[in-house]
């Protein structure tokens, strides 16, 4: 029947670009990465099979170890900060206020997401400059000694975290606004009759009801934070020393600076497995803490 033949043709034609594209640019590379991790290749000479040597190297390499540590610290602090700030603001913005104000605040907190991480890092680099940055100038106005933001190993990480959270909290904020808006107001009325107000209301009423959204927000925030690159690269290039070098930076440098493509693939695979494990762990935890209606 022509309709069937037309259907089949349409199916193939319509799926082709996407399936072909995903096949060539995603599936093939994943397989390629898996294979490449067992080789040493500098793109110029031919690849050499080295078995598990890349992975063994990773386990002992100091820079790689530091980068995983940095990334872990970054993820824990940045995501915690991001989620807490986003939740606090979402609760405030969801409360009673003139609609125009709600729209204003919602747009404002969403705004940083629209900018490029590189541009944001460029301007933040100036703001946090030790000698002429506005942040230190404000501190000096308040009589607080200036901070060597980007030149000190400890503070540099603080800056990277702050810049990242500034840019990304809006996303979690939006998710929380959505989650909070689906809680019917009658629940709060019923709750307040029983004496649940303020913090108790939040902890025992709001939080459980919004927990599915918290799960989604934290999964996405963690996956995103594990892949951080633009901010540390532009702000500090991983320095001072190695204090802000993240895993993705090490992947980038292994491949495109040291021309160790096999090694870079191996690190990438470890990162991917880490992402999957952390995500799975979250869903496990969710069984205890997430409450579905």
């Amino acid at each position: 029947m022509t309709a069937d033949r037309d259907s089949a043709l349409l199916r193939w034609l319509f799926l082709a670009p996407t399936m072909l594209g995903i096949g060539v640019f995603v599936v093939l590379p994943i397989v390629g990465s898996l294979a490449l991790a067992f080789f040493r290749w500098d793109i110029i000479t031919s690849p050499q099979f080295v078995g598990l040597e890349n992975f063994a190297d990773l386990a002992t390499d100091r820079t790689v170890g530091i980068s995983f540590l940095n990334t872990a610290v970054f993820v824990v602090v940045a995501v915690a900060a991001q989620l807490v700030i986003a939740m606090l603001l979402a609760v405030l913005v969801s409360s009673r206020m003139p609609p125009w104000m709600r729209v204003f605040f919602r747009s404002t907190f969403f705004f940083p997401l629209v900018l490029s991480a590189a541009s944001v890092s460029i301007l933040m680099k100036y703001l946090f400059n030790e000698s002429y940055g506005v942040i230190n100038w404000l501190l000096s106005l308040m009589g607080i000694p200036t901070v060597p933001w980007l030149t000190s190993p400890q503070w540099a990480m603080v800056v990277v975290i702050a810049v990242y959270v500034w840019q990304n909290f809006g996303f979690s904020f939006l998710l929380f606004i959505g989650g909070l808006s689906s809680i019917p107001t009658e629940i709060y009325e019923a709750g307040s009759i029983d004496g649940a107000t303020g913090w108790r209301q939040f902890r025992h009423l709001t939080l459980p009801l919004v927990s599915p959204t918290v799960l989604v927000a934290s999964v996405m925030a963690i996956i995103s934070a594990l892949q951080v690159f633009d901010q540390p690269y532009v702000l500090t290039r991983g320095g001072p020393g190695d204090s802000t070098r993240t895993v993705v930076m090490v992947i980038y440098e292994s491949a495109f600076r040291e021309l160790e493509f096999g090694r870079a693939s191996a690190i990438g695979l470890v990162l991917m497995v880490l992402i999957m494990l952390v995500t799975a762990a979250q869903f496990r935890l969710a069984r205890r803490f997430v409450f579905y209606q």
């Binding site: 799926l15 590379p29 709060y188």
Partner: protein, 273 residues
């Protein structure tokens, strides 16, 4: 919600948060309007009393801004359109047509969404190189057009449209092509707008892939060009770099002002319900 919240505390907190959020961008704007030599002198300027646009002119002299903008615009435009079209087509098939292995295929598509770009970037670099496309804009465009997330969005979108439309069309003897082009496609436009706006925002602001694929400066995109500018200028003439940053933000802000709804819907789409 919490009706008992003291209004003063609430609005103060929100006000402070808003200042902290918008402040840095405002500072960027006002500082870009200071004469270059004054750009890093303190106190900073928050209210430009005599705006000086010379930094904007200087940006055009330092880096080939029109070229950067052209490159960014080309990549972003072609990717956005490409994504809208391919995602709509694939999403339609997954939503409205039946064939063996459809669900398995879609599951594979979905799972590729979980793979971080850093895992595939090295092999993609090699594939692009093998195709002879390194250091060309196509290196950024081609891998970016097929979109698992966009396909997912469009499929959701088509699933939300009534089945009766297609059935009525079939009863009237319309071919599958007619059914798509005359009936479903026009309805898909706002779903496509979401895909397009998200793609625009992501690729206009992208830094990682251009950093890797582009070697010659004439192929740089805007974020890459600006970071290079900051590196070259060092600590002199902040206002010039900031002028460049403001310029690069303009299209994103315009899209934000007009397409905010689409951005929000798109970003929260996969996560609710």
């Amino acid at each position: 919600m919490t009706r008992r919240l003291p209004a003063l505390a609430k609005y103060s907190a929100l006000f402070v948060a808003a200042v902290l959020t918008l402040g840095p961008v405002w500072w960027t704007f006002t500082t870009s309007l200071r004469p270059a030599a004054e750009s890093f002198s303190l106190p900073p300027s928050f209210f430009p009393t005599s705006p000086d646009f010379s930094s904007y002119a200087a940006v055009f002299e330092q880096i080939a801004v029109p070229l950067l903008v052209l490159n960014s615009a080309l990549v972003t435009g072609v990717v956005a359109i490409g994504q809208m079209l391919t995602a709509a087509m694939a999403g339609y098939v997954f939503a409205r047509m039946e064939f063996r292995g459809k669900n398995a295929l879609f599951a594979i598509v979905l799972s590729t969404m979980m793979v971080p770009v850093q895992v595939t970037i090295v092999p993609v670099f090699m594939i692009i190189r093998g195709m002879g496309l390194s250091d060309t804009l196509l290196a950024l465009i081609l891998p970016a057009i097929p979109t698992a997330f966009g396909t997912f969005l469009m499929r959701q979108y088509f699933l939300g449209l009534p089945l009766e439309l297609g059935e009525a069309a079939a009863l009237d003897g319309a071919s599958p092509w007619r059914t798509f082009f005359s009936i479903y496609a026009p309805l898909a436009l706002s779903g496509m707008a979401i895909v397009g706006v998200l793609a625009f925002n992501y690729h206009w602001n992208e830094f990682f892939r251009p950093l890797i694929f582009m070697i010659s400066e004439q192929n740089y995109t805007l974020p890459l060009g600006l970071v290079t500018l900051q590196g070259n200028l060092g600590t002199g003439s902040i206002s010039v770099v900031l002028a460049g940053v403001i310029l690069s933000m303009v299209p994103a802000v315009v899209v934000f002002l007009f397409g905010q709804r689409y951005l929000r819907e798109g970003l929260t789409a996969g996560s609710s319900k």
